[in-house]
Amino acid sequence: MVELVLFVIFALAALLGAVTTVWARNPVYSALGLMLTLFSVAVFYVSNGAHFVAAVQVIVYAGAVMTLFLFVIMLVGVDRSEDRRENLPVQRPLALALLALFGAGVLVAGRFVWVTGEEFPGAAIGTVERLGSDLFRRWVLPFELTALLLIIAAAGAIALGMFRRGEEGGGEDEDEEGAA
């Protein structure tokens, strides 16, 4: 019962946030809508027993990633209004038709057991201990590779922030991306 109430409330919040993200003219409102969706998804993680993942969602996504987004929105500028004309002739109707088709396909496919699998009674609770022992035993090589990936990403962001048009290889520029 509690889960039903939570699901209804936060499903509406997640959908509202998602629609705001896509619809809002001002990118700051888009970022705030995305943040609403991210928090709602974190609530769904908790009600599905994924406690550690929910904490990571709040800290990494709603904290770090959204801060980064807001930084870049402020850097790029929010006052310039976006041109909403569509240059491709049939892009919008075609996109909406494809989306409706895709949504219907996913929703129909979710009703078949060969997509979703059989239901098992026991729910796996994602505490830090269990998820950590899984990550460091079965998935230790991918885990190490993610460390490499993050280092490459940080180095790439710093490199992208350093090069400018006139001075190739200038080093004293600001780089907000690298700090994250």
Binding site: A50, V72, G110, A157
Partner: protein, 101 residues
């Protein structure tokens, strides 16, 4: 009425479709990026819900890796957006037609 995993999967599908719609319909590079984040979160939600239904922790491990890849993608992508903005003073992908033949 109990909330089954199917409800979460349906919600994840709807959020994914909204995100895909933002990707297809918007022209602001930042909003397109946020739409990608929406799609990634929808995929994560379905991973967690399916993992609960199957009684496995693998879904949550997959979510962990998706989050790391998404963080790396955001860092590099936003750096590219800022670099493009410095050169062209625009965040609209329609105006980035330098490679057009």
């Amino acid at each position: 009425m109990t909330v089954t995993a199917g409800w979460y999967l349906a919600l994840a599908a709807v959020i994914f479709v909204i995100g895909a719609g933002g990707m297809l319909l918007r022209r602001n590079a930042l909003v397109m990026f946020m739409s990608v984040e929406l799609m990634l979160n929808a995929a994560n939600l379905s991973f967690v819900a399916a993992g609960r239904q199957l009684g496995l922790l693998d879904g949550q491990a997959a979510v962990f890796f998706v989050m790391v890849v998404a963080a790396a993608e955001v860092v590099v992508g936003l750096a590219i957006i800022v670099a493009v903005f410095r050169r062209r003073a625009t965040a609209s992908v329609d105006e980035l037609s330098g490679l057009k033949g």
